[in-house]
């Protein structure tokens, strides 16, 4: 096309394409908005979304499997053995609880939301929830303490275990002494 033709074609194209664009924008001016007013209205998370971890400590048997599975070591669990006179009950899945759990800490700042801790749990007490708003001003507030035991309870459990161990050790010592005695008696008789 000759130069003058392109010149007028360009002008025509400019106006026609602007008109197309303006028709699009004015159309969108009257379509309802697609955004949510976030803090007031929240988008529903997908059913299997992985966000903040939650531990139902009543069901925890202190097996430490979640802690071992964690690739970033953000779960720290301490356990105290229960003594024979204590009955810690059973979990909702029917497992017998044999260990006190004085410490079950999750450093959620380290957590990578892989979900690997969820699968090994025999009692299904550690789960991913859909809570995602838990920012804090201090990093230390992101270490969640899930254990329900108070420090007197922990001390009590510890002393009880110590006592039981001492008793067991004493019994063992007595038994050992008895066995020794029997042995020496036998050797005396033999000589």
């Amino acid at each position: 096309m000759d130069a003058i033709g392109t010149y007028f074609l360009n002008i025509w194209k400019a106006f026609s394409t602007i008109a197309i664009g303006m028709r699009v924008t004015i159309g969108h001016l009257f379509t309802p908005s697609v955004t949510l007013q976030y803090p007031d209205v929240k988008l529903k998370m997908p059913e299997r979304a992985r966000n903040r971890l939650y531990v139902n400590i009543d069901d925890c048997i202190g097996c430490d499997q979640c802690s071992l599975a964690c690739p970033v070591d953000c779960i720290i669990i301490d356990t105290i053995k229960s003594t024979t006179d204590q009955d810690l009950g059973v979990t909702s899945t029917g497992h017998k609880k044999r260990l006190h759990v004085p410490k079950f800490d999750i450093d959620i700042a380290k957590c990578c939301y892989c979900g690997l801790c969820v699968y090994p749990c025999p009692t299904e007490c550690i789960v991913m929830t859909d809570v995602f708003e838990f920012s804090e001003f201090d990093r230390h507030n992101l270490i969640y303490h899930y254990s329900s035991m108070t420090s007197p309870e922990i001390d009590e459990a510890k002393t009880k275990l110590k006592k039981a161990e001492e008793e067991a050790a004493a019994k063992k010592a007595v038994a050992a002494a008895a066995a020794e005695k029997q042995k020496s008696d036998q050797s005396k008789q033999g000589s």
Partner: protein
């Protein structure tokens, strides 16, 4: 209006009268800026299927007020290497240039800041001071982005002033006056007497002149957008390349004044277009709904229509390249305007 106010005051207090009359457009600009900022944000948001601010008052209508309060509290920062005097002066000069234009802009048949015979000429001349202010801001900031922005702005405003002035000339040729009040009185006979539709000329002349007035009106509107540095002609600001252009280094109230000047300029350009081509404060129904009070309504409504159009275009089109900008001005608008002026002149003479 001047006579009305004069009757309340004794001769000793005429200075008060002048201050009052001079301050009226300022009050209007401040109110307009609040409304325009809100409208701009809301329109842009809804065009992108968003909602924009919703918290401060119903649908965020108090957000501009909150913004101003925030700007008032901001630190008035100035770069250490900036030229102190020019840096401080620049935003005020930009605003003065714009505000001086309001002096000759009619708001109603009863109110115009200064009813001078060379109104149109005066507005075009005085609004060029803005360029000086922008260059000053860019230079004094001692920042390469600011300087680039200022250079572009100067080049753009100076080259687009020519199409604007020539487009206005088409309207002035038909109305035969540079006084904006006279120009509007000429178009008082209703919507068909507006200059876009050929003005109150004899029918054959009117029909012949309509294509040219319409072209001139369109060019005037496009050149007006370029004069106020708005998208698609926002090269001086160009936030994706120049941070913020000439006002990169400005903060607090100085930035607010730049912003205010931009919105005031938007209204000024719209107001001039409305006065010259769409009958200003004249009612579209002739005698019906005319008068000084209705006049304010009509001119503000027409100008706000233009402002809305500017916002609409801004949120539709991307930015032009520098060469496209100059091409549009010198190679497209100017030849078309020469043709318009020639044929309008010919039709009017014959």
């Amino acid at each position: 209006m001047e006579e009305l106010l004069r009757s309340f005051l004794t001769d000793d207090f005429t200075w008060l009268l002048y201050i009052l009359l001079a301050a009226l457009p300022l009050v209007f600009i401040l109110l307009f800026a609040l409304v325009a900022v809100w409208t701009e944000m809301k329109v842009s948001a809804h065009m992108q299927d968003r909602l924009a601010y919703m918290y401060t008052g119903p649908h965020g209508i108090f957000q501009p007020v909150a913004d101003i309060l925030k700007l008032l509290q901001k630190e008035d920062a100035r770069p250490a290497a900036a030229d102190k005097i020019l840096f401080t002066l620049a935003p005020f000069l930009v605003f003065i240039g714009t505000y001086a234009g309001f002096a000759a802009l009619p708001f109603s048949s009863a109110y115009i800041g200064s009813n001078i015979n060379l109104g149109v000429f005066y507005i075009i001349a005085v609004s060029s001071i803005v360029v000086v202010g922008l260059l000053m801001a860019g230079w004094a900031s001692n920042n390469k982005w600011s300087l680039f922005g200022a250079m572009r702005s100067a080049a753009q405003i100076v080259s687009y002033e020519i199409p604007t002035a020539l487009a206005l000339l088409v309207a002035v040729m038909i109305t035969g006056s540079l006084n904006l009040q006279e120009v509007i009185r000429f178009q008082e006979g209703g919507i068909l007497d507006w200059v876009v539709f050929g003005g109150p000329l004899p029918l054959t002349q009117k029909l012949l002149v309509i294509p040219f007035t319409f072209t001139a009106f369109l060019i005037m509107f496009i050149a007006g957008i370029a004069e106020v540095n708005r998208t698609p002609f926002d090269l001086p600001e160009a936030e994706s390349e120049l941070v913020q252009g000439y006002n990169t280094e400005y903060s607090g109230m100085k930035f607010a004044i730049f912003y205010l000047a931009e919105y005031a300029n938007m209204y000024l350009v719209s107001g001039i277009a409305a006065c010259l081509f769409l009958g200003g404060w004249a009612s579209p129904f002739g005698e019906l709904m005319s008068g000084p009070v209705w006049g304010v309504f009509w001119i503000v409504a027409k100008s706000m229509g233009f402002v809305f159009l500017q916002i609409w275009i801004r949120w539709t089109l991307p930015r032009l390249r520098v060469d496209q900008l100059m091409y549009t001005s010198w190679k497209v608008m100017l030849p078309f305007l020469f043709v318009c002026i020639f044929f309008v002149g010919l039709i009017l003479v014959l």
